[in-house]
């Protein structure tokens, strides 16, 4: 019986030592290399799982495909005409900015990254990426997907890998503005369940379907990154601020190829 207690004591002692090593940043490289190793070894495990997912995904989605196709065709038509208008407006904007001597939009260097795995406990809050310190990644770097859609922020960096907080994570708060209208507020993650647009003055007008972009205030995020659109206003007029649910611009569960924005 004595030896049993010794084993338990030893296990907790070892845990304390490991925590100390982790806090002293000695254990970081070990975790980093385990992540890299797992990413490499997992390739033959991931491939058949993807096949299974795609097979069942097609079966479950079959009935929606026709309706989705019609909707997407209409959206493509609408967006094509919108893009044509925006291209012209962009040229005009750039010309006027240079004429007035305004600062042009900043172009940051992008580091492409792939997801190695997700947090086992909360897959909607944190993912591990295959890019780290040696690729120039730093804590606080914004992460986007194609289309300038903001999806997360780098929360932890090791030599070869890094961890990203997804926007729906409870640790996220971003200054955002509404287009059209320009109402300012704060986008917050809802513990992996979604996004909320909060602290919007009652004097401002926000409507369902309005788009939310980063405002650039605070400097952490460049402005004009797309976050999502307002899906429902959940506050009443008697409240001090307006609050709304936000539909993210992309499905955070389908993320694969990401781009880390270096300052």
């Amino acid at each position: 019986m004595f030896s049993t207690y010794v084993h338990i004591l030893l296990a907790f002692l070892l845990l304390a030592v490991l925590v100390f090593l982790y806090v002293s940043a000695v254990l970081g490289p070990v975790i980093d290399w385990v992540r890299v190793g797992v990413d490499f070894i997992n390739v033959p495990v991931v491939a058949p799982l993807k096949l299974i997912k795609n097979f069942f995904g097609v079966i479950f989605d079959l009935k929606n495909i026709a309706a989705e196709n019609a909707l997407l065709t209409k959206q493509v038509e609408d967006l094509t005409s919108e893009v044509a208008g925006l291209d012209r407006a962009k040229e005009e904007n750039e010309f006027l900015r240079s004429a007035l001597g305004f600062q042009t939009t900043d172009s940051r260097e992008l580091v492409p990254a792939e997801i190695i795995s997700r947090d086992f406990q909360n897959p909607d809050q944190k993912v591990v990426l295959n890019r780290g310190q040696k690729h120039g990644v730093a804590v606080g770097d914004p992460v986007i997907v194609s289309g300038n859609i903001l999806v997360g922020v780098i929360a932890e960096v090791l030599e070869n890998t890094s961890a990203m907080d997804i926007l729906s994570s409870s640790k996220i708060a971003i200054n955002a503005l509404v287009v059209p209208g320009g109402a300012n507020g704060l986008v917050r993650g809802e513990h992996g369940l979604g996004l909320t647009f909060d602290l919007v003055s009652q004097n401002e007008v926000i409507n369902q379907g309005d788009r939310l972009l980063t405002s650039g205030l605070g400097g952490q995020f460049p402005k004009d990154l797309l976050i999502g659109e307002i899906s429902r206003i959940v506050s009443s007029e008697s409240e001090l601020f307006q609050r709304a649910s936000v539909l993210p611009a992309t499905n955070y569960r389908n993320l694969n190829l990401l781009f880390i924005m270096k300052p």
Binding site: I8, V45, F120, Q121, P123
Partner: protein, 169 residues
């Protein structure tokens, strides 16, 4: 280190690979069974306490690799789950896992683990070692789906152990 320990160590690592690959592919991980937790329970029911303790420790360490919580939370939680499963199968019920006992163990461990992680993380954040995470992050409706998925796979594992009894030796 004997052959048996190597075999179980390899098995734990394979389950870890399967778990991390499943979470990567099926991002909505609520229905992805927690293979490491299940194997810790099966291991605890069929092995000695020191063995259970160290294999739970190892499983926890692997789990830490992709954990968003402060380091050690998963090791701490899995050690307690392993010890709990060991005590339940030795002192309260028969060692042969009856269906209701198995259900109690699996559901209990699935709910207990996030609570232990939350407690550990709360202590770490109160010591300013990390930033706090809201409690709802740990205990949410996803736990119900996880418990169901775990039950399903656990009964499958139990069936396999009966089919290949040498696994429990």
């Amino acid at each position: 280190m004997n052959k048996r320990s190597l075999f179980f160590g390899g098995l734990f690592f394979l389950l870890f690979l399967l778990h991390s690959a499943s979470v990567k592919v099926f991002a909505s991980a609520s229905f992805v069974p927690q293979f490491l937790l299940l194997f810790v329970i099966v291991f605890a029911a069929t092995h000695s306490l020191p063995e259970t303790l160290w294999f739970s420790f190892g499983a926890g360490f692997l789990w830490e690799t992709f954990s968003a919580e402060f380091f050690g939370a998963q090791i701490f939680a899995l050690i307690f789950c392993g010890l709990g499963a060991y005590l339940v199968t030795r002192n309260i019920t028969a060692q042969e896992l009856a269906a209701p006992t198995a259900a109690f163990l699996v559901v209990g461990a699935t709910v207990l683990r996030p609570l232990l992680v939350a407690g550990y993380h709360a202590v770490a954040s109160s010591l300013d070692l990390t930033s706090p995470i809201p409690f709802g992050t740990f205990l949410n409706p996803g736990v119900i789906y996880a418990a169901l998925a775990n039950l399903l796979v656990f009964y499958l594992l139990r069936f396999l152990i009966r089919l290949f009894p040498q696994l429990s030796k």
